[in-house]
Symmetry: C2
Subunit: 512 residues, 2 copies
């Protein structure tokens, strides 16, 4: 507090409460006590019930000897258990370690060891896996969890708003997963930003298509709760089931990577009189995907962020004056990564340490800082120092700033293809390929080349029932981009992906 004379504040607790996401559930339980909070098949929980279960989960954890600061791992799909752990573990003052259910046992064991988790909670479908990886941990299965929770007293520990609250192990398109450290204050503010940007209200019905174990579900476990909306659980993204739930539960919003939308659009959506909001992140939506979503009644907002930034740091905030532009121009604007979200996280694009001009052309690395940036990598000071060399977190993403201040990514630093001294943006080539009617998805990576240093190679998934020759694709790209950017080789088949739907380019590079 400033020290100038003449005033003295009252005891700080009257004007200070720690910013923590659990405060959002506390309020929801006050305001929306008897309203629906969670749907999971036949299970329906009100906010009063959700609040009670979370406080008792904290009591359960204390009963197991969990102390503030201890790590608690959860192996679950988008289930009530995983949702409740986003509050219960925090009420206990412990650190939530969400496990990616698609990882191999050895990878999960590494994360459990690295995080030092002492307790492992799991959903019924992962009982076998939990036993396999849970050696040395207190493993609590669903039946025991329910019994212990029922016996436990409600419990809560006051949060330190800048203290460690969760570890999110990066899904790892490269190297060893790192434990990204989240703090209460960042999660709280990110939640408010999501409420504001997506106008979440008590009428919001949110479908859990995005894995909750990925960046804590972009803060939506807390944001939907803040608004008093309904969480609709979903264990697995099955397109027909998604459309059915949208209809049956009156879903108003969901999130996902473009690949999730691509798979949804492969199934004809049922007739429906209303539109659904969709936040898309992980990769920019292509014009053809946007057009398909428009026809399917999905309103797309493009987000950009990283695990290190609590998920969405930037939002392609739509401006009313763009509504009158031609559809093709709108698609270009909508695929940009956008501007920093409402809470104070500052985005810069740096080249040789200085900000690039807003010319839509000069490439620089995206750097961030603010209240929604991680504390660092857990037990990895070296990686932290590399990522935050000077107080600004380096994303490894390369982009340009347009004259209107909107960020557009051109590539991951490591995904740029350098051919004969010229940079080729893999994203640019992928967008050109995606515009071909036969192409469902494409990934372009560098292939070593004796003459040029590197040359692009394209991995392409075709739409069902379509065929196309490499020559035709090559001509298609050359009609749109400089000739040297067109890949020399085309391989057809499914693309390897991370759990959050990102294409594993490192795996494609390893194939060369």
């Amino acid at each position: 507090m400033s020290g100038f004379e003449g005033w003295r504040a009252v005891p700080s607790h009257v004007s200070y409460e720690p910013l923590t996401p659990t405060a959002l559930l506390d309020r929801a339980a006050e305001v929306h006590a008897e309203r629906l909070a969670v749907v999971d098949g036949d299970l329906r929980l009100t906010y009063r019930e959700l609040h009670d279960r979370c406080l008792r989960q904290a009591g359960l954890l204390r009963g197991l000897g969990v102390e503030p600061g201890d790590r608690v791992a959860v192996l679950g799909a988008n289930s009530p258990l995983l949702l409740e752990s986003h509050f219960g573990v925090l009420y206990a003052g412990a650190v939530l370690v969400t496990l990616n259910i698609r990882l191999a046992a050895a990878e999960l064991r590494h994360i459990l060891e690295h995080s030092g988790a002492t307790v492992l909670l799991h959903d019924p479908e992962f009982a076998e896996l939990a036993e396999e990886i849970g050696g040395g941990l207190r493993v609590v299965g669903p039946a025991e969890h329910e019994r212990l929770r029922a016996e436990a007293e409600p419990h809560r520990v006051e949060a330190d708003e800048r203290g460690l609250m969760a570890l999110n192990y990066t899904s790892g398109t490269t190297g060893h997963p790192k434990g990204v450290m989240y703090h209460h204050r960042g999660a709280y503010l990110q939640s408010l930003a999501m409420v504001a940007h997506f106008r979440l209200t008590p009428e919001t019905v949110y479908l859990w298509t995005l894995p909750m174990f990925h960046c804590n579900g972009w803060a939506f476990p807390w944001a939907v709760t803040a608004a008093g909306g309904v969480h609709v659980c979903l264990r697995r993204v099955d397109p027909a089931q998604v459309w059915r739930l949208i209809d049956a539960e009156g879903v108003t919003m969901f999130c996902g990577a473009p690949t999730v939308l691509i798979s949804l659009l492969e199934v004809a959506p049922p007739a429906r009189g209303r539109r659904v909001a969709v936040a898309v992140g992980g990769a920019p939506p292509s014009p053809s995907l946007l057009a398909g979503c428009e026809r399917a009644g999905l309103d797309i907002t493009h987000l950009y962020g990283l695990t290190e930034t609590f998920g969405p740091a930037a939002i392609c905030d739509w401006r009313p004056e763009w509504n009158t532009l031609p559809v093709a121009e709108q698609a270009v604007l909508r695929a940009r990564q956008g501007v920093s979200n409402l809470v104070s996280c500052t985005i810069r694009v740096l080249k040789d340490g200085t900000d690039v001009p807003r010319d839509g052309a000069t490439l620089g690395e995206v750097a961030l800082r603010g209240n929604t940036v991680m504390l660092g990598y857990y037990r990895d000071d070296e990686a932290t120092r590399l990522a935050v060399p000077d107080g600004w977190f380096r994303t490894g993403d390369l982009g340009v700033l347009h004259p209107d201040g909107y960020l557009e990514l051109r590539d991951r630093a490591k995904d740029v293809i350098v051919s004969g001294g010229e940079n080729i943006s893999s994203i640019e080539v992928e967008s050109a390929l995606a515009a071909h009617p036969a192409v469902l998805e494409a990934a372009v990576v560098a292939m070593p080349d004796e003459h040029w240093g590197e040359r692009p190679i394209a991995y392409v998934t075709l739409r069902e029932g379509h065929t196309v020759s490499p020559e035709e694709l090559r001509a298609h790209v050359r009609a749109r981009l400089a000739a040297f950017k067109a890949p020399d080789r085309y391989e057809f088949g499914p693309l390897p992906k991370t759990s959050s739907g990102k294409i594993r380019k490192n795996e494609l590079r390893a194939r060369r």
Copy 2:
């Protein structure tokens, strides 16, 4: 930060920025640079221009010798000067003291002396008053302000988020005005709450009917800016002008006390195809006012708060399931003070130190704490101690909690009329009177009575062209409430009001 082993955060500045409302303008200037920010007659400012003017105002203040922590007073209507000072004074690290333009010179001089302000900025229409009250201060008139600002360099001082940021002198329905101390963090969070609750977006066009000098305009100078909306300035609430601006500027929202709405509805609104959101505070809207607003295309949300809570602490958050109730029931629900707003401010109703049951009947005093509570009263430790005896700020308002958790005020502690040992809620009697077709507004206060201790007396303003006898009003009230609650005396005429439209009951009591 928690001290447990195993992790070390990166330098705090990568994951920490002070929460201050100026961050919201910084973002708006990035995101909405060329979009319209301010309309004042013929003057139109973009966010880039607004940002520049505010940073240069900070430079101007530094040039005048203003140091961080110094108090800067502003005497202005809802003008660009006053709006810009809500950022410029903060950029300078100084403390904003907004002056109520309706106070007498002696009252203003008291506030200037008490606050220790060293600089006084003013709008052109207050030149004479500024000279009269500005003795010993550096008085900067509009022409000089414009010249100095143009010459000044942009300037900013890093904010201390829990430090003093503004003084709001209570408009004083009783006693001497007290200087309520606002902090950056509270103003920032309150702004985000207003954005979320009122779904402010870049399409918001906000009309400044609420005095900006009152609780810093309920945080709307910052909230509208956060959303990238348009501020439409308004020097004086003239009903015809308000309707004209709503039409001409495409206004989507404004705020005000019920009296503002009453005066608006006295003028026939022009035909208009869209509805306008209105936040109403200061007193609950009566059923007849709500019906009139509904017909006039105004969607009412009722707020409750005090100067000490950055304005709105509670919001009568509308539940979708209430839409199907009969209109009369909706009006009763809409007049309740509601639930705590989205940011963490906790509301309790206390009787003899414990929480009242949620029975809609047991009366207690409303108490609050959280991030949107004041630091205390400036240079008045005694008053602060009385208001915050135990870490909870006592509002002096008496209310009940309904079974659904919604707060309903029954009276100010000092406005309760105790007649023959029975409590009479002045609000209850006023609502009954307001339901009479001839009554525009009513205020009920206690009158000393030899037999009963106190008896209610009613001050009533009739609608133009209407007449009614005291006997008829008495019968009207008795038909609705217990006989002992009906006032014995009725006096007709205009009601004395504060600048924010609250009825000055202390003045009415002094008339007895």
